[in-house]
C-alpha cells in the first residue's frame, strides 16, 4: 500500500485548562500540518476522533478540546507525561499566504481550527481581526494567546455590548478584508457564506461531519448531493463549494449514517 495508516504515539507535554470545559493539550512532536487540517486522535482502547491542529511550533503542537461526550471525557483525564496516538494530518487547509488583512471568526470548539490560521497569518505579517463567538464570558478562550501575537481580538463581552456574534460579524465585514475565515456553529457559518457570496468577498469555512477513518474510505463524512467525502474535500471549503452542499446548514449524519437536523 502507498498509504500506511498506523498511529504515531506522542507524549502530552502540558495540559492547559482554558475554561471549565475546554482544554489545550500540548503534544511533544514535530508535526507538519497546514492550518485547517485535522488529526484522528487515538486513545488506545477507547476510540479515535477528529481534532484540528490548534497551533504548531518547531517541536510541539496542540489540540484544543471541548468536553462534550464519552470520548472527550476520557481525553480530559490525560495528564502531563501520558501518551496518546494520532494519524494524519488530513484534509484541506486555509489559503492565506497572499492576503494582507483578514477577518477570522471562531466559535465553540471551532476556534481551535482557526487559531492555527491566526498564528501562521501573523508569522506572515498579515493583519488579523479575530472575532470570538461565545455564549458567555466564561467560555471565551485563547484571548490572551491571540493578543500576544498582535491580533485584534473582538467579542461581545469586551465592550459589554450585547450584540450577537452574527451582528458583530456583519458590522466588521464592511471593513475591507481580503478574505474571511470561519469555523464554528454551522448555522452561523451558513449566514457568513451567504453574505460572502452576496458581497463577493473571498471566504473559507471549516465544516464538521462525522469522521471515522479520515482517509476517504468509510464514507461516513459524505455530503449531499455531491456524495464526496469531507475528510478529503474538506474540512476547509470555500464559499462557493459550501453553497453546493445542499445539507450545509440543514443536516449532518451521525455515526450510523442517519440524518440529524441542525437547530
Amino acid at each position: 500500500m502507498q498509504h500506511i495508516e498506523q498511529p504515531t504515539i506522542v507524549t502530552v507535554k502540558e495540559v492547559i485548562k482554558e475554561s471549565s470545559n475546554f482544554k489545550t493539550f500540548v503534544l511533544d512532536y514535530p508535526l507538519d500540518a497546514k492550518p485547517g487540517q485535522f488529526l484522528m486522535v487515538w486513545l488506545p482502547g477507547v476510540d479515535s476522533k477528529p481534532f484540528s491542529v490548534a497551533w504548531q511550533k518547531e517541536n510541539e503542537f496542540a489540540i484544543g478540546v471541548i468536553k462534550v461526550g464519552p470520548y472527550t471525557k476520557e481525553l480530559f483525564k490525560l495528564k502531563k507525561g501520558d501518551k496518546l496516538g494520532f494519524t494524519g494530518p488530513y484534509g484541506t487547509s486555509y489559503n492565506f499566504e497572499d492576503k494582507k488583512k483578514i477577518l477570522i471568526l471562531g466559535g465553540g470548539s471551532g476556534i481551535a481550527s482557526v487559531t492555527y490560521l491566526a498564528q501562521r497569518a501573523r508569522e506572515n505579517n498579515i493583519e488579523v481581526d479575530f472575532l470570538i463567538a461565545a455564549k458567555d464570558k466564561k467560555s471565551i478562550v485563547y484571548e490572551k494567546w491571540l493578543e500576544d501575537q498582535g491580533i485584534n481580538v473582538i467579542h461581545r463581552f469586551k465592550k459589554n455590548n450585547h450584540e450577537r456574534a452574527w451582528d458583530m460579524f456583519k458590522e466588521l465585514s464592511s471593513n475591507n478584508y481580503d478574505s474571511w475565515y470561519a469555523c464554528g456553529p454551522e448555522l452561523l457559518l451558513k449566514k457568513i457564506v451567504d453574505l460572502s457570496i452576496e458581497k463577493k468577498t473571498k471566504c473559507q469555512v471549516s465544516l464538521e461531519r462525522y469522521m471515522k477513518c479520515g482517509i476517504g474510505v468509510c464514507g461516513s463524512c459524505c455530503v449531499d448531493p455531491l456524495g464526496i467525502c469531507l475528510c478529503q474535500a474538506g474540512p476547509v471549503v470555500n464559499a462557493t463549494f459550501a453553497n453546493n452542499i445542499s445539507e450545509f446548514g440543514e443536516y449532518y449524519r451521525d455515526g450510523s449514517g442517519a440524518k440529524v437536523n441542525f437547530k
Binding site: M1, W42, D47, K212, G216, C218, C222, P225
Partner: protein
Amino acid sequence: MINLEIKINNLKLKNPTILASGILGVSSASLNNVVRNGAGAVVTKSISKEPRKGHPSPIIATYEEGMLNAVGYPNQGSIKASQEFSNVADIEAPVILSIIGQKEDDFKAVYNELKNCNFKAIEVPLSCPHTPGYGTMGGQHTPEMATKITKTLKEITDLPIWIKLSPNENLVEVGKAAEAAGADAIVAGNTMGPGMIIDIDTYKPVLGFGMGGVSGPALRPIAVRCVFDLYKAVKVPIIGCGGVTTGRDLIEMMMAGATGIGVGTAVLDRSVNVFSQIMKETEEWLKENDFKKIEDIIGLTHK
C-alpha cells in the same frame, strides 16, 4: 472500439467493475459519485434491520501490503435506509442492496422494507470476519446457513441473489450449497482473517475492535485462487473481489473466471477515480492483445 460490457444475470454493466460493499456507499449521493467515477455497478453499505453504530475507531489500519478493517456494519437501519435509497433508479448504473442479518427473519425484514427502492440485485455477505453475530463470527459461513438464507430470500423476491463468501475456508462447499439453493451469483469474496496489528509503543491493537478483516493487495492472490476454484465448481457467474487495484489485476481475476470485479480498498491508494483508471488500463491491454470483447477473457486460464 472494444466492448467492455458484461452481463451478470439480467443486469447489463457498462464495465465489470463493481464498488465493493462497505467502501463509501453510505448514501445515494455517495453511490452516484462512485458511478460518475466509472464503476459499472455499485453495492450499498450493508443494511441491517435495526440501526447499528459500528465499532469504535480506528476502523482501518494499513500495512505494507494491505488493509485491516473492523468497521462493524454501522448503518441507519432498514427503515431510514428505505428513505435514503428511495431513488436508486436515478443512478446510472445498477445498484445492488447488501443485506445483513442474524436470523432468517432479519433478511426478510430488510428486504421488505427496501423492496420498492429499485435495487437490481441483493448481495448477502455470509462472511464478515470481525462482527459478532454476523458472517464467520455468527456461524453463517456454512453450507447449511447458505442454503437457509438463500432459500429465505428466493421465496420472497425475484431479484438475483448474490451470496458473498469468505476466502478463509469452505469456500467451494458453501458456494455450491448456495448455488443449489438458488443463488444467482457468487461473490468471492470478503476480507480474510481476522488479522491484527499491534502498536508496539502502547502494546495495544490498533483497531478499535482489536482485530479486523484483511483486504487489498495482500489478499489478491488468495482471491484469485478462490475464483479459480469456484469457476470449476459452479455454473452461476462469479464476482471476483480482493485487492484489485489496476487493470492488470482485473484481467487476472477475469482470467481466473470472474465476470464482475469488486473493488474496495484500491480507493485508498488511487482515489474514487480508481474505477475509470482500472478500465482505461484494461482497455489498453485488450487493444494491444487484440481482444474485441472483454467477455472473451473470462476463464481463459482454464482453457
